[in-house]
Symmetry: C2
DNA sequence: CTGAAAGCGCTTACAG
DNA sequence: CTGAAAGCGCTTACAG
């Protein structure tokens, strides 16, 4: 590995001078400068970031925390975020969080060992020490897809999950559906919110909430959606519509229904939330709530950048607009 | 940030001794040891990795290169790889490559500045300097999903793309199809291989290759698949089956066909390659070739680890087995 | 067993 | 404008 010393020696100058032309903030004589540039070109020298970080106390590195088993929506979101960070010249470091206190502790230690300039969290983290660490060290933090709640010193960006659920369930009700099953989980706050929206929509329409129609899923993927339907069908309770907490669950559900001779949307309507890439390309295409993915990713990075660069000092809570996307999977009850 | 000095001071020992208990390879008196451990516990001290890396000349960091616009299969693969790396205690650094020489150069510079211990490449990189750098600095490298070809000092892991294509196209031919369109691209070597397999299958069955039935796609996603079908339909040439280079293209294709009143599989059969998560949950479910995703991810990491730890000195080329997954999207020509 | 010291690759006051 | 020197947070021979 060629180091700054090598470059200095070859260009017959001091390392300080080399450093100056690399960083370009101090005047250096044209002659030495061009000689140094030449050597850099020849040797392909690139400064060692670890060394720079250590003296500068700045890393330009952002830690991104996401669940170990991230779903499609989170995948799209994090790749959006990664690209936006890259554009601003940040480096990103990924931390896959196991949702138990052991996993969270392990993540905290990795975080400490990395000295990031900022943190983006896509997954709720319970560990108090985690928040304390960020706070004590004044590491700007942005939470995406969930509320800041107990977090101090963190901005948050998310949709109103309760409203989203309410809107889409309302739509089912408008279509005449009364027996609406729900596939979801209360493990994360967005699930809690979505369930709340579901119940509110029912209540406002004077429909009884039926606990038996509420199926708890073990993960947010197609397999879990399919399993949930198996469980639901075993109960032999009538239902004409399904509200899945996420699009992926909905896809699994639709397939499982079909395998049981139940057609979507002819026999049962199905809706989701998220509007992932596939939702408009499946057959039937999925009626769902769109989360503004790109805007979310962009805003996350912008806000974090503002915090880091000192342009924004106060933490904010951003609610992003949603929209109901009507497609083929939900129709009037006949 | 608490440093090793702080710990040393609080424990009333030298930094050398603290370092020794952290690394645990040298005997330290029980008394000092417990005192140091206590201080570490109290202060929440974690060593600064950048500093460690610098002196140790080892980073335990792996650079993962993937295309800027990675498709679903690559997503699943890279998340598989990331998890496997994590289990072995490696850190991963992601590099999103823009497929032009500017983008590749930028990536090389980022790589140089990071000093990784190993590299995993999910995307063909043309830049000669890139390979030269890895070679000169003896950085173990594993290429996944494509052949090592011009790369020296790199192991590779992939399927036989030509065979995969041939197998699935053969299957269509067995089902009686003669006019088989192809959606793909020659931008990457796997595309070239898949096209070759397609042609070979046709040839062996004494079917004429029709250039007009070969549609060039601009990306590997559902939108591109849909666009390709639009282009194909404009030509008004009869076809009874479609071979898409990837599953995502196939999904886009199926949807676009449907929107034009063409049913799958009743009117047209469609097959893909990859077998991504969704392929068994769509309707119709997709007939495709399965790439052994998990095995690929695991093997990639194992091989890289062996190279890094010196357990494996020679570079190898690994061909992974594929399998034809027959599902609903392809049926007998009637 | 343990501390003082050198050194990893950088940057930046400090003096010229 | 420019070099010698100190220092960032570590590890590891080197001497005791």
């Amino acid at each position: 590995m060629v180091s700054i010393k090598d470059v200095a020696k070859l260009a017959k100058v001091s390392v300080a001078t080399v450093s100056r032309v690399i960083n370009g903030n101090v005047k250096v004589s044209e002659e030495k400068k061009s000689r140094i540039l030449e050597v850099i070109e020849e040797t392909g020298y690139v400064p060692n970031r670890a060394a720079q970080d250590m003296v500068l106390k700045k890393t330009k590195k952002i830690g991104i925390f996401l669940p170990n088993t991230f779903n499609q929506f989170q995948r799209q979101l994090f790749s959006e975020i990664a690209h936006n960070l890259e554009e601003l010249g940040y480096y990103s470091s990924f931390f896959f969080v196991n949702t138990d206190s052991e996993g969270e502790k392990a993540c905290l230690n990795k975080l400490k060992s990395e000295r990031v300039d900022g943190v983006i969290v896509l997954q709720e983290i319970e560990l108090i020490e985690f928040r304390d660490y960020l706070k004590k060290n004044e590491i700007p933090t942005v939470l995406v897809t969930f509320e800041s709640g107990d977090w101090e010193n963190a901005s948050s960006i998310h949709i109103q999950d309760e409203v989203a659920a309410k809107v889409v369930v309302n739509y089912l009700i408008e279509l005449g559906h009364k027996d609406i099953a729900m596939l979801g989980s209360r493990k994360h706050s967005f699930g809690v919110e979505r369930e709340r929206g579901y119940k509110k929509a029912l209540k406002e329409a004077n429909l009884q909430f039926n606990k038996e129609l509420s199926i708890n899923i073990e993960a947010y993927n197609v397999v879990a959606g399919s399993n949930a339907i198996k469980e639901l069908l075993k109960k032999k309770i009538p239902f004409s519509a399904i509200f899945a907490h996420t699009d992926e669950l909905a896809f699994g559900a639709i397939r499982e229904l079909l395998d049981n001779g139940i057609r979507v949307p002819e026999d049962v309507s199905v809706v989701g939330i998220d509007d992932i890439e596939y939702s408009s390309y499946t057959s039937p295409s999925l009626t769902t709530i769109r989360q503004p993915l790109e805007e979310m990713g962009k805003l996350t990075v912008t806000i974090l950048h503002n915090h880091i660069s000192g342009k924004s000092l106060s933490y904010e809570k951003n609610l992003l607009p949603i929209s109901l996307i009507k497609r083929e999977s939900a129709v009037k009850l006949n």
